[in-house]
Structure formats: C-alpha cells, structure tokens
C-alpha cells in the first residue's frame, strides 16, 4: 500500500463548543502537536448533531467524520 503512505485523509470534526472545542483550544495553549487532517466545525452541543451533517460530509467527499461531545 505504498500510495496509502502518502495518503493524507480529510476528516470533518464536529466539536461541542463547551467540551471538545474547549479541549482543542487548550491543546493549542499547551502546544500539543497533532496531525492537521481535521477540519473543525463548532456546534453548540452534540444534541445539535444531525445525522444529515454526517451524511453531507461523506457526500462532500471527506474520508472520515469525528463527532466529539
């Protein structure tokens, strides 16, 4: 799988404003390094997460979806 080694996936990350989004901010403050593959969309609460968004993201062509409350 030599091409896979080059493959850099695009991942849609839906983060809850009060929890995971805050953790992401704190990771920044602490300069914790992680791969740049995630694209963050801030949502007010995981309750707002509609399956529609997940389907739309896959349809748009992302390689993965991560929902974190």
């Amino acid at each position: 799988m030599s091409e896979n080694a080059e493959f850099s996936p695009r991942i849609a990350a839906f983060l809850c404003n009060w929890c995971s989004y805050g953790a992401a901010d704190l990771a920044g403050v602490s300069r914790l390094q992680y791969p740049p593959n995630i694209q963050v969309i801030r949502i007010p609460c995981t309750g707002r997460m509609s399956p529609k968004f997940i389907l739309a993201a896959f349809r748009k062509g992302v390689d993965g979806v991560w929902v974190s409350g």
Partner: protein, 922 residues
C-alpha cells in the same frame, strides 16, 4: 489589603498593589518570554513537584491570563543582569521599573474570603513527610493526578517516577489532633477527597491499583457523599479503621506502615506511596489581618460567626465566607459567598446602581436584504500565528472568496487601537458581515462582537476562524499544511457568515416581586432579606404558623437557643410591610417563566393569583418515623425532636434520667435511604451533654457507626468524651437490640473492641432519626425543576450553583435541598436571595439570540421536539403545533436534530449555516 477605616456603609480601604513587572494592558499571553528565561524556580502551583520560570503564568487557564515576574527569583531584578524577557516580548509589556502602589478605595461593605491554608505536615515526625520522597500530601496527589500537573496526569511516585501499585491514604493529618498540631477540629473535606483521589488513582492505574484508606470515622455526610463512599467500597478501595503511628522507608523507597486493628492486633503492610490527607487551617497572614481589622476569631482561629448570622463578623459591614469561617467544602463556600454578597448588599440597597456602569450600544443598522459584504481580519498575534502560518497568503486567498469585500492583516486584532480601527473600517467600507481569523471564539468572540456593536452592526453577523489555538500552535512542524488549513478555516467561516442573519435578543421585563415557598427558618430568612433589599415578597406556608421544624429544636451546635430566635424572626416577618404571609396555603398552579411567574395559591380564603419574577423553594423536610427499636411501643423510646420538645416543655427532666442510650443512623445510611442525615451525630452529642450537665452521674452511651461531628462540632464530641459519655461503635450487620424486660428497657450491643455483647439498662432511648424529604413532585413539576432519587431538589450544579436550578428564576434553600444544620439553612437562604436579586434587580433581561424557532408550516405536532428538549422550552400551541419559548431555550439544538420534518431550526447554527461550512470544507 492593608487596612480599613470608617464604618459600615462608608469604609475607606487601603490597598497595596505589588509590582508585577509586566504591563497587563500590553501582555497578550503569547508565552514568548518564558522559554528564554534562565531562572528555574520550584513551581508552587504544582506544590513544588516540578519547575517553572521566573516570568510565568500560574497556570494555563489563569485569569487574568497575563504573565508576571517573580521578583525574588528574577535574575534581572535580583542581580541586574539578563533582560531576556524584555527582548522577547513583542508588545513591550515587560517593565523592570514597576513599583508598589498604594491606593484608598471607598466601599460600603467588605467581604473577606481569604480561604484556608493546607496544613503543612513537615512537623509530624511519625509521618516523615519531609524525609521520605514517596510520602506526599493530598494536594500534591491532586497535582500528580491532574492532566495539567507535572506528569500530565500519569500516576507515578516521586522517587523513581514509576507507577505505584499500592497507595495508602492516611486520614486526619493535622485534624482531630491536639497533641501534635493543636487542631482539635475536623477539617470536613478530607474523607471525601481521599475517596475521590483513591477512585481517580484507580482509574489512572494500569495495573489495578490497591488503594487503602486508614481512617478513624468516615465522614461522608454531604449530598451524594454516602453513595460515593459505597461505590468506592464496591470498586475495591479498602477502608481500614485505624490511625497510623509509624512509617518506615524500605530500601526501594517503599513505605512500611505499622498500625493496630480495632481489636488490638498489631499489623504491618508495605505501600509504594503514602498520601497524607492533610486538613485545613487558617493562614498566619489571615490571622494577622483579622487582628488588625478587629475581627474576632474562635479558639480554632477561624472567624467567629453565629448560627443565625453565619456570614457576619463582629465588625458591622465586614462579612466573611468560605473556609476562613470554618473548614468546609466547595458547595458550602459558594453558598456562603452568595450569602455574604446578599448580606453586604442588604445595607447598601439605597445606593444600588449608583456606581455600577452599563454600556451604551448604538442602534444597529438593518442589513437584511443587503448583499453580503464580508470583511476578513487576519491576525498575526505577534508571531504566534505569523511564525507558522503565511499570513499574507491567507489574506490574498481570502480576497478571492465570494462576498468578501475587504481583507486586512493586524498584528494584534484584540488590542484596543485595532478594535477602534476595525469599527471605523466596518463603517467606512459598509461591511455587513465580519470574520476574524485569530484565536478562539470561546475567549474572544464577545470582544469582537462588542466592536461590531460599536460599529452599528448586529453582533450575530460575526464568526471566527480559529487559526491559532487549533492551527498554528498545534501544527508547528508543518507550516505549509498549517497555512493551507488556515485558508480552509477562513473559507468555511466566510461561507457561514454570508448566510447569517441579524438576531434579536428578546427583552423580557422582570417583575421585581418574589415568592418564597415554606415558612421555616430558611424561608423566613429569605423573605426578610428580600424585603430588606426592597422587593415585595410573598411568603407561603402550608401550616397555620411559621417556624417549621425549628419549632421543635432546642439549641444549635454553637449552643444558641433556637426558640427566642425563631419568635423574633417570625415577628419581624409579620411586621414587615413588604412581606405578605399566606398561612395554611399551598400552591395550586404555576404559569410563566423567569421574570414573569403567575402562581395560583389555595388558602383558607379561597384561591388567589400572585404575580412574581422569581421564586425560592424552602419547603424543608421532615423527621423519619422509625419502625425499629421499639419506637411507638414504649414512651421511653423517643426521636431527637421529641426529646428536644420534651426537654423544653419540662416533660423530660434531665435531672431524673440516670441512664440514657442514643442509637445513631436510625433510617439513615440504609438501602432505602442511602444518605447520611448530617445533623444527628451532633444532635445526640448535644443531648448527651445536656443530660450530663443536669445529672453528672447519668450514664450516657452513644451507639454509632461513624461519629460525624464534622468541622468544629468535633469539639463537642471531644467535650462529651471528657465528661464521660461512652461511645460504642456498632456494625450495620449487627445492629443494637432494644428489649422490654418487664418494666425494664434494655439495649444490647456488640462491642468490637472487647469482642462481646454489652447489656445496658436505659431510662431513655434516643433515636437519631433520619431527615426525609417531602418528595414534593407536584411542586417540582409546577416550577419545572428536578428532584433526585431521595426526593431532594436537585441543584443546577452540585459544586458551583448549589442554590440554583437549571430553570432560571427559581432557587432553593434549606432542608428541601438536603439535610443540614440551621446555620447552613440560613446561609442558603441568603444565598438564594443573592441569586434571586441578580434577576429581580434588573428591570429587563436580554436573552441570547441563539435560540430555536419552529417553521410551523412544516410542523405536524408529533411531539418529538418537546419530549427531547432538556429545558422544557417547547410546548404545543392551540393548533397542536410546536412553539419555542425563547425565555427558556438555551440554544442546544437538540430539537432541530430530532425533528423528522425539519420544522425547528437554531438561529446562528441553522442547518443551512452548518451545511455551508460542510460544503466549503474541501
């Protein structure tokens, strides 16, 4: 604070500001200074377990998030050399010339909340804290377990940084001990935090940690504490009833503990690590401050207050709260804080609003229907963003995006001058949407929203692209990818912002009247304070007279007589022109929401409707009616309240009682009531002391499971033992037995120390009967507030919002929340008033614009949304369709995600907004 002059209502306080050597108005907390600082200093935040620099911020979430220089450790300030941080600082905030300043401040009241100092166990020879590396304090253990601690939350012991497999916690270090440290009191919180640390350490452990807690009495008396204790037992935490006398270090730095079991056997056990559960004490500086201000302290050095005025010091206008006025946990500290705020404000209500400032906001221009004209401001954040992200490339890219009218790069977007310039640009270029690509909206959205408002734009026409915290700072090794990601984030933000519509913040008028439900000690205090601050108050009491459970109480733990106080309180309530008392009345119906409640009362004169802006629930609790220990079968078996009443009305003559037995935990800590009733241990000790006082020859035996005379009540327990009251512990599986033998009443109990049964003849058997809730589900439903499993009202947050509900405008106080002593009920009453006044004192309140709305053309009235709504903000209208009450909606969006026909939507986070971001993602 150096000194106070003047009197209540008009104090002049001298305040000394110590130099920080960093200008907080310039510091942007970028952290560039710290890596270059050559001075390494023991990190007091991590209890000295690791190092920090001389220029530092106490912790990553510190407020204000501004650096400061430790003058004792800074090489420039001590030796005149270095100056590295000044060179590194991009904003010129470092100022080595900073000096101490003194100023006088005029205030009406002073609240002292100087807190406590964790007891320093260095002086204890038997624990060898300063000698052995693997003996740590509980606060050090907190830092070891914390993700922000020296080992990032990995459970390791200090000597070799290896994971311990066995840890022992030793209780009562610096508490309940007059021999070594002169602290006779119980510190109240250590039992619970030790269990918590043991449970968390077990979670962090990879090898199934063996955690053992060595204790004298387990004092888990607060709300849900007993359940926590039981859970820890089930999860394998070992509890050993013994006070440790010797620790010896082994060659591998492990620690051997020697202890004696309850039946007198000597045992030894080796642990990898020992945690000392150290208590709370008053700091020397606080004692000095109190002495200087003329504030009276108790023998324990905590500030003296009374049960009836638990947050007032002896000096009028000076209030205290938190651990300075006695060892206590966080919820009670928060309660007292609000109570102190209430008391401090009570005397100043004539000057309310005279000094507080409100901001003027210009009328926003209507941008609906206009073509979006987006302004993008890309921040360099000094070098925080610009060193990793090619800011210029991001600016050029942003110019190519649809609807973008103007793009600009700023060095510091958050600085005041940039803010002013930004507002100017918005007006000049006619921008109607704004994106700031900078740090995080969680800290800076409100600031930029103010700038929009200042420029006459609705503040919801705004979004941020988080290119610092979630980009430049975390992808430092990949600048190209970080730049690409910044472009992606800007594109997504622009796509969203173009769709945003101005949102209105609904303004609600607030009816400045309050209702207090329950006319006991908590309810009466709440009503009096509300009236004292000028609010019309309705006090509703189910009984025909005021007073509640306190009518049957003799004295408080501090020895104050309750009845005279209660009579005075009731008289003050009846005489207060602002308080309308509704006796023999109950609630029938509650309509409305915060600011505008409409409550129907049913009383002797029929039904009346009362309008009010807020409500305080203080319905109290009741004494459990025992079915055990021959209660009701022999008049000599009595509950606490019966004994108190009989002592007060003379039916029980203490001089004539020759043998009394008190049985603890009657109905408490049982499977059907898995909680501790908190007050009964102290109550039995009070009654025992009363009997001993009137008849020193009386034999008094208290049969208990754990003596929970928490905080300074421990002194009463000590006094009782000194006066010859006998304490015998029983096991829950081997309860005492009360029998009638002819005319004789006998109590049999297994003595664990002697290993045999004791038989006691008794003239009086006192049952420490539990406090049970009224389980008033009707009232809970009327106000849309929850009850817990045991029927207590459930607060919004057990630590930080102990008298609030998740429902706005409704608060609680007293036993309705959980069993508690009188002074805590009074403190809660004042706290509830303080919280209620934050609502009642504003003529109108703005609600967030981020609320749900329903497109009724799509709604079929299926009811899914009002079922899932966690705030009961959705109801059915007369057509059977859903409507959102914006006053209750918190903007979580759960309704939107649950609807199958797409009728609800969330303003600011509409389905279209999120879809636009998804579309713009790649």
């Amino acid at each position: 604070m150096a000194d106070i002059a003047g009197d209540e209502g008009d104090f002049t306080v001298k305040v000394v500001t110590h130099p920080r050597y960093v200008d907080t108005s310039k510091c942007i907390a970028c952290g560039a200074c710290t890596p270059k600082c050559p001075a390494k200093v023991s990190n007091d935040y991590n209890e000295g377990l690791d190092k920090r620099k001389a220029i530092y911020v106490r912790y990553a979430q510190a407020v204000p998030l501004k650096y400061g220089i430790d003058p004792a450790k800074c090489i420039k300030l001590t030796k005149g050399k270095c100056g590295n941080c000044e060179k590194q600082c991009p904003t010129g905030a470092v100022n080595y010339e900073d000096t101490e300043t003194t100023r006088d401040i005029q205030v009406g009241s002073v609240i002292i909340s100087a807190g406590f100092k964790p007891f320093d166990p260095s002086a204890y020879v038997q624990y060898s804290y300063s000698k052995y590396k693997n003996v740590v304090t509980a606060l050090e253990m907190e830092r070891i377990l914390a993700a922000s601690g020296p080992w990032m939350g990995h459970l390791v012991r200090p000597s070799d940084e290896k994971e311990p497999k066995k840890i022992a916690w030793l209780q009562c270090v610096g508490s309940r001990d007059v021999n070594t440290c002169d602290h006779p009191y119980c510190s109240s919180v250590c039992c619970m935090y030790a269990i918590k640390e043991a449970a968390i350490a077990k979670e962090h452990s990879h090898s199934g940690l063996d955690a053992a807690i060595f204790f004298m009495d387990m004092r888990t008396f607060g709300k849900d504490f007993e359940k926590y204790y039981e859970k820890a037992k089930t999860s394998g935490v070992r509890f050993i009833r013994s006070r440790i006398h010797t620790i010896t270090e082994q060659p591998d730095k492990s620690l051997m503990i020697e202890y004696a079991t309850e039946d007198g056997q000597a045992k030894t056990e080796v642990f990898d690590m020992v945690v000392l559960s150290h208590g709370l004490e008053v700091a020397k500086s606080s004692i000095e401050l109190a002495n200087k201000l003329g504030i009276e302290l108790k023998s324990t050095q905590f500030v003296k207050t009374t049960s009836f005025a638990p947050v007032s010091s002896n000096r009028p206008g000076v209030y205290v709260c938190g651990a300075l006025a006695g060892p206590k946990d966080i919820p009670l500290s928060v309660v007292e804080a609000s109570a102190a705020a209430c008391a401090a404000a009570g005397k100043l209500s004539s000057a309310r609003g005279t000094l507080a400032q409100t901001k003027e906001v210009p009328q926003a221009v209507d941008v609906r229907g206009e073509v979006p004209k987006v302004g993008v401001f890309v921040c360099s954040c000094g070098i925080n963003i610009a060193s990793m992200v090619d800011v210029k490339a991001v600016v050029d890219y942003a110019k190519t995006l649809p609807f973008v009218e103007f793009v600009e790069n700023n060095l510091f977007s958050c600085s005041q001058d940039t803010q002013d310039k930004m507002a100017q640009t918005i007006k000049e270029k006619g921008l109607n949407r704004v994106v700031v690509a900078a740090c995080t909206p969680r800290t800076h959205e409100p600031l930029f929203q103010e700038t929009l408002q200042a420029a006459g734009l609705n503040k919801y026409l705004f979004d941020m692209a988080n290119i610092r915290n979630q980009d430049s700072w975390v992808h430092a090794a990949e600048p190209e990818k970080a730049t690409e990601k910044a472009k992606d984030l800007v594109r997504m933000a622009v796509a969203k912002v173009a769709l945003l519509q101005p949102l209105n913040e609904v303004k609600l008028s607030v009816n400045p009247a309050a209702m207090v439900i329950g006319g006991g000690v908590a309810g009466m205090n709440a009503a009096l304070e509300l009236a004292g601050q000028g609010f019309t108050t309705h006090l509703v009491e189910r009984d025909a007279q005021l007073g509640g459970n306190a009518r049957l109480l003799r004295i408080t733990a501090q020895g104050e007589e309750v009845q005279p106080y209660l009579d005075g309180l009731a008289k003050k309530v009846m005489d207060n022109p602002l308080i309308t008392t509704h006796l023999a009345t109950s609630l029938k119906d509650v309509e409305g929401f915060v600011g505008n409640f409409k409550t129907t009362l049913a009383g002797p004169a029929g039904e009346t409707v009362v309008e009010h802006g807020g409500a305080i629930i203080a319905i109290g609790g009741q004494e459990y009616q025992p079915s055990e220990y021959m209660y009701g079968q022999d008049p000599r078996v009595m509950t606490h309240l019966q004994i108190d009443a009989a002592m007060m009305n003379g039916e029980l003559d203490a001089k004539k009682v020759n043998s009394a037995v008190f049985i603890q935990c009657v109905g408490s800590r049982e499977p059907e009531r898995p909680y501790c009733s908190k007050v009964c241990c102290t109550h039995s000790v009070e009654s025992a002391l009363h009997l001993k006082e009137h008849n020193p020859d009386c034999q008094v035996v208290i049969i208990y499971r754990d003596m929970r005379t928490f905080a300074e009540r421990e002194l009463l327990y000590k006094e009782a033992r000194a006066k010859g009251v006998l304490f015998v512990r029983y096991d829950v599986n081997q309860k005492p037995v009360v029998k009638k033998d002819g005319d004789k009443l006998t109590v049999t109990v297994r003595d664990h120390i002697l290993g045999r049964d004791l038989l006691i003849d008794a003239d009086l058997v006192g049952l420490a009967s539990a406090i049970v809730s009224h389980k008033n589900t009707e009232l809970a439903q009327m106000f849309k507030v929850p009850l817990d499993e045991d029927g207590w009202f459930l607060e919004a947050h057990q630590k930080l919002r102990p008298v609030d509900f998740a429902t706005d405008g409704v608060f609680m106080a007293g036993l309705a929340h959980y069993p508690k002593p009188l002074e805590e009920a009074v403190a809660q009453a004042l706290a509830a008033v303080s919280r209620a006044v934050t609502v009642l004192s504003s003529a109108e309140m703005s609600l967030s614009g981020t609320v749900a709305f329903i497109d009724q053309r799509k709604c079929v009235g299926c009811g899914v949304c009002w079922t899932v709504c966690p705030y009961q903000a959705i109801t059915q209208d007369d057509k059977g369709l859903a409507v959102v009450n914006e006053a209750l909606c918190k903007g979580c969006g759960t309704c939107v995600a649950s609807c199958r026909s797409g009728a609800p939507n969330l303003r600011g986070f509409t389905t279209q907004d999120v879809m636009a971001q998804i579309e713009a993602m790649l």
